[in-house]
Symmetry: C2
């Protein structure tokens, strides 16, 4: 299968591109490389030292014989996107090519507007290219479990069958996203759903949970292939951040009371979920939604697990409840369905002591690269962050 990975230079995109390439697919990467600019602008960096995309791809070819075509292009540039898509002629596109940080989108007005325009316009451009040039191409779009928010009823996979005043319909599950970034994903979902309805496009929306881990079998083949690992207050996600905090002796920073519950998955499952979606494409006209996570944890659960693993490794791990920079429920009901990917064949890597050990060891290996100033949350949901103005 010919697969173009949009955003293939990023944390999930890079690991996915290598996984699919290793499995024998013809893989291309399209990426604007803008994420590397944001790192510089925000004075943050991956814990792991990542190589340039050309070097990564060249090394992959040396090691495996597999080629990956590279298109450096911004999806918001329709002409560049269309040119690359027509040239590569993919059977499927995997769309990671968005601004993906909730805190980034909440820095201030400029970042909120940028996030929504960047994500919505890139996706609209992609829908038009598929409709006009590659109508049979399967769109696999990365959404997020954060689109659902924390309703007081069970979260289903994309749709909800509702009986109301004696009548029944199955409608898109009502969304309650928690940041301008999460909102951009909800906007995308609505736009893609519409494109499937009117143009007969085939699309799979992967509502992904919070990803943890850094290594996949492919990214560990060589240091040149190492994946990025974010620990800062803007791009760092909770479990990865906790492991790095433990490694450097920084208290684990639990936002608020820590009862926030979310779906999580190992990055080795991310790449496998995407592959399963590709191997079992949506039908023409179908907007299929799969919830892509393997386990639910609260923030407190994760802090306890990291403390335990760290303590067994001889680290002194403290937990600190810091004022919550976000506006969110800190104690709430949470129960989300995730059976569809299991039915397609996913064998989950559940969160284990060995994964935590591995992540803690990565953090210890690179702890001289940690800038502690980057760890505290710098962005408040309630007001624009003066530090960035």
């Amino acid at each position: 299968m010919r697969i173009l990975v949009l955003g293939g230079d990023g944390y999930c995109g890079w690991a996915t591109a290598l996984h699919l390439s290793q499995r024998g697919h013809d893989v291309g990467i399209l990426d604007s490389l803008i994420r590397r600019d944001w790192d510089r602008q925000l004075k943050i960096a991956s814990l792991t030292p990542i190589c340039g995309i050309e070097r990564r791809i060249a090394r992959w070819h040396e090691l495996t014989g597999h080629s990956i075509d590279l298109y450096v292009a911004d999806m918001c540039n329709h002409e560049a996107l269309e040119t690359a898509m027509v040239r590569f002629a993919p059977d499927a596109v995997v769309h990671f090519g968005e601004q993906r940080s909730a805190p980034y989108s909440m820095i201030g007005r400029k970042e909120a507007v940028f996030t929504q325009v960047n994500n919505v316009v890139g996706t609209l451009n992609l829908l038009y290219v598929i409709h006009e040039k590659l109508p049979d191409c399967h769109l696999v779009k990365l959404g997020t479990m954060g689109e659902y928010g924390t309703p007081n009823i069970d979260i289903e996979e994309g749709y909800l069958t509702i009986t109301h005043k004696g009548r029944t319909d199955t409608l898109l599950y009502p969304k309650q996203p928690g940041s301008y970034y999460h909102l951009s994903k909800v906007h995308d979902s609505h736009n893609i759903h519409f494109a499937c309805r009117i143009w007969g496009l085939r699309a799979t929306d992967l509502n992904q949970g919070v990803v943890y881990g850094v290594h996949t079998p492919e990214t560990t083949m060589d240091r040149t292939l190492v994946n990025r690992l974010d620990y800062d207050g803007i791009f760092g996600t909770v479990l990865n951040r906790f492991c790095i905090q433990a490694a450097i002796g920084h208290p684990l920073t639990v936002y608020g009371r820590g009862g926030q519950c979310r779906g999580f998955l190992d990055i080795r499952d991310t790449v496998r979920c995407v592959e399963l979606a590709l191997l079992n494409p949506a039908k023409a006209g179908e907007f299929r939604v799969l919830n892509q996570f393997t386990e639910q944890f609260t923030v407190n659960d994760l802090a306890q697990k990291v403390r335990q693993a760290g303590t067994e490794m001889g680290l002194d791990v403290e937990i600190e409840n810091v004022p919550n920079p976000r506006v969110e429920k800190e104690e709430h009901y949470y129960h989300a369905a995730n059976t569809k990917l299991l039915e397609l064949g996913l064998k989950p890597h559940c969160l284990s002591q060995s994964l935590l050990d591995s992540l803690l060891n990565v953090a210890i290996d690179y702890k001289d690269r940690v800038d502690e100033n980057m760890i505290p949350p710098r962005v408040s949901w309630r007001s624009c962050a003066p530090v960035f103005q």
Copy 2:
């Protein structure tokens, strides 16, 4: 009350600004006047000859002694919007300032992207100005009944209480919008809902039905004040278009089978609904949704009514079913709640023979201004319209 009407040069905005001014409020208008450019670009025009905004406002002052402040500014220009908002210091803003045509948004990729960026960014800018500069300002936002689509269950006002697997929550009503324009309004609704939740803004989303009529008591005081009336295939809405078709002896063009059912209201009720929302503001933190229409009709109902009224006036009115340029259900269940504005005091102007007579007479008065080529639908939902490329 000091009220800034965003988009106050448009069909609903102009009538609303005059109504509020006449009722003694201090009214300002902010408008980019871009709609007048679109008329020129698309070679369409209002049936009624409309004066420039400065002349309209000057004449209004001469006739009534009421002043209306004018700000010519684009809401997508945050600085211009903020400057105007801070200078005028409104107690409430009424936000009509968006690209409001579904067919326009479906012309092609450029127009779809423009519609979503223009509407979403303008509204985001407004949310930030209110949050940062005028946090108590009541936002009255024009949404559309088209956000709901045509579900097989009753449409409620913004929210739906759902019981699922033994648990209950009240969530935003699931949306199924039918064009990239309608989608932009759904995006706005989600963004505003979020701003109310995190910043405590007060907002009312008026999900308006299809507006008909042209005159209000204020716009008929003088020919200089006449309101615009669109009959073309892009901006013309169904009932106004049918009356003009009847007046010039053109068959009434029913799209498809004509069983499409929607909510409708007289423009005299539009201005009153907005006033009622202003006089009864949403609470701090509240995202209130009111369905703003008075009656439901199918397209066939309206065609029959116009034929009957036209025949009684001696016109020879034919009805023609033309291929539906849209992708939509042509026979479907439709039952939408609209009690909240009635509870606030709305006394509806139901669709009557006399309104149809009045509209037909306006159409007859100006029939020499009609360009028949502008009437047929030129935009297809299924493919990009070559005529515009």
